[in-house]
């Protein structure tokens, strides 16, 4: 096991990693930016280093200061969490070059899955179904030809992309030139890589992902799926649940088998997630996230596995302590993301001071958060304030528990997503289960039409 782990992140995930390390008896080192000096993740760690000012580029992405802090304090491993440097293959390599274990898959795996076009190609080779698409497009003429072949509507995507940036829906040939130019400019600006590819647009799919866990000795297991179809208009997830409701057993099994085959094909180690679009009985590989996911707690609750501890153990060279046959889910779990965002204003993120904070408790409720009353929400980072998770023996039980938990939750000082989550939980479509990714955006359009 490691001597000391440096946690290269902030917020709730930094606390989550801190807890896992402490339970394994491993001391921790936090890093923080100047505005995060009094943050909970700093207080819970055994040591802490300020690595820069507020803007992430100068602090949480400051590789030199982060590595230097790790070396000075005698850490022998770095956990990157999610976001920031978590899927940066060069950072992972730099860690290794300094004799620091990177708690995640090898840099080459991160690099090949981070390049969307390459990931699709690799998966197609492994027999994993992907949406019909193109290779990298060298020109607009290239794009036109590819779109003709695939058939409109198509989705233009940045190969370096993520978070919906550099992505455009193109309904017909007339829209292609402007969409190509804007997507390319956006990709260039956000990822310094303007390369695009095309894929067929799947209308109203469900977003279902499969958690995998592999050790360094070739053992790979899946820990079931998560339905993440409740997404904001920006395609960012808001509510996730596990197992996926209203899904036929053959499709569920196909998702699990496909995810395992895909993970094996790339020789995956550590925790990872394969994201799929599900359209009726068709499943399409979308992308693989080579890190811990925000929504990992719902899997933990129904499988009784501590994914972050497993990540650390695997990186330390330990064997996975269980086989596929040992793994079966119990009950249902739901997660609501409580963000400092204003749903009435296009989910615009907001900064400020929290004057009042109260979280729920009681049976079957878990809250992962870094905020307390008086916390300052800096304008520089992700707007996630807390993850409220509820688990129950049945889905109806989990929903009732989540409604109860959200009714106990109080956060004042910034607008939040609490009410919109409650609104979704009350809706008949959600209660019936199996809604698609257009569910939440279309509710907004409908609400506006009524006004």
């Amino acid at each position: 096991m490691f001597r000391k782990i440096l946690i290269a992140n902030r917020g709730e995930i930094a606390l989550r990693i801190n807890r896992a390390a402490h339970e394994l008896g491993v001391p921790t080192v936090a890093i923080f930016s100047e505005p995060d000096r009094t943050s909970l993740h700093v207080r819970h760690a055994d040591e802490a280093f300020c690595v820069g000012p507020g803007p992430a580029a100068r602090s949480y992405l400051n590789v030199a200061n982060i590595i230097s802090a790790a070396l000075i304090c005698g850490a022998d491993a770095i956990h990157p969490g999610y976001g920031f440097l978590a899927e940066n293959a060069r950072f992972a390599q730099i860690c290794i070059d300094h004799d620091l274990a990177f708690i995640g898959p090898p840099p080459a795996t991160i690099a090949s899955m981070g390049d969307k076009a390459e990931a699709r190609r690799k998966m197609a080779e492994a027999g994993v179904p992907t949406t019909p698409g193109s290779e990298i497009l060298r020109s607009l003429a290239d794009a036109r030809a590819a779109a003709q072949r695939i058939g409109y509507p198509v989705l233009l995507k940045a190969t370096a992309g993520g978070g919906g940036k550099g992505m455009r829906v193109v309904d017909g040939e007339d829209d292609l030139p402007s969409a190509f130019a804007t997507a390319q400019a956006e990709a260039e600006a956000n990822f310094r890589d303007g390369r695009l590819y095309l894929e067929r647009l799947v209308r109203k799919p469900r977003h279902i992902e499969v958690q995998v866990l592999g050790d360094r000795f070739g053992t790979i297991v899946h820990l079931g799926e998560r339905d993440c179809s409740i997404q904001k208009p920006s395609h960012q997830k808001l509510i996730e649940e596990a197992p996926a409701p209203a899904l036929s057993e053959p499709i569920r099994e196909k998702l699990h088998a496909t995810a395992l085959a895909a993970a094996r094909a790339v020789g995956y180690s550590n925790a990872g997630t394969l994201e799929f679009l599900v359209d009726g009985s068709e499943i399409y590989f979308m992308e693989m996230n080579t890190r811990i996911q925000v929504e990992h707690p719902i899997t933990e609750l129904i499988y009784g596995v501590d994914l972050v501890k497993e990540q650390i153990r695997i990186a330390a060279g330990e064997h996975l302590g269980f086989a596929q046959d040992d793994m079966s889910p119990h009950g249902y779990a739901i997660e609501c993301r409580i963000n400092a965002e204003d749903p009435a204003n296009g989910f615009a993120p907001s900064a400020g001071t929290l004057v009042d904070v109260e979280f729920p408790g009681g049976p079957g409720v878990r809250v992962d958060t870094h905020i307390v009353a008086g916390s300052q929400i800096p304008p520089y980072y992700d707007s996630l304030l807390a993850k409220v998770v509820a688990v129950g023996r049945t889905r109806a039980n989990a929903i009732a528990r989540m409604e109860r938990a959200l009714s106990e939750t109080r956060i004042e000082g910034v607008p939040t997503t609490i009410e919109i989550c409650r609104d979704v939980l009350r809706s008949e479509a959600f209660r019936a289960g199996g809604v698609d990714v257009e569910f939440l955006p279309s509710r907004f359009i409908a609400a506006r039409a009524v006004v």
Partner: protein
């Protein structure tokens, strides 16, 4: 009303103050005014003159720009030294590279906050230079 103020406003302010480098903070609005003072100055944080004493002197506090290990320039400067111009006072060693720490002009070394071989992080005060 008073209890609410204490619970929701004073506590977070006090917590932030306790962890900050400040020696005095006053927060006021129409309803209330809260002033906190540090009884014993925080040795790391208090630059001469920034505390209670009245002085016309002006000080610059030189802080660390990188995370690393501090090494004084040889021969090391001492408190009270006069600097005739921009001088290299120390280096911060990070990833095998020695990053110079300069006085950024002439003055008197009023305070040295760090020791040889000490790890420093971003923004940590290293020297106070009296510019007057």
């Amino acid at each position: 009303m008073f209890e609410e103020t204490v619970e929701h406003r004073l506590r977070p302010i006090a917590a932030a103050f306790a962890e900050s480098d400040l020696v005095r903070i006053r927060v006021a609005d129409d309803a209330a005014e809260i002033e906190l003072r540090r009884a014993v100055p925080n040795a790391r944080a208090v630059a001469p003159g920034s505390g209670g004493e009245q002085t016309n002197r002006t000080y610059d506090v030189i802080t660390a720009e990188v995370v690393g290990v501090l090494h004084f320039q040889r021969p090391p400067v001492e408190e009270g030294y006069s600097l005739d111009g921009d001088r290299e006072l120390a280096q911060i060693e990070a990833l095998g590279i020695r990053n110079p720490v300069r006085s950024r002009g002439a003055g008197r070394v009023a305070c040295i906050y760090v020791a040889e071989g000490q790890p420093v992080d971003y923004g940590q005060p290293l020297f106070a230079i009296d510019r007057s």
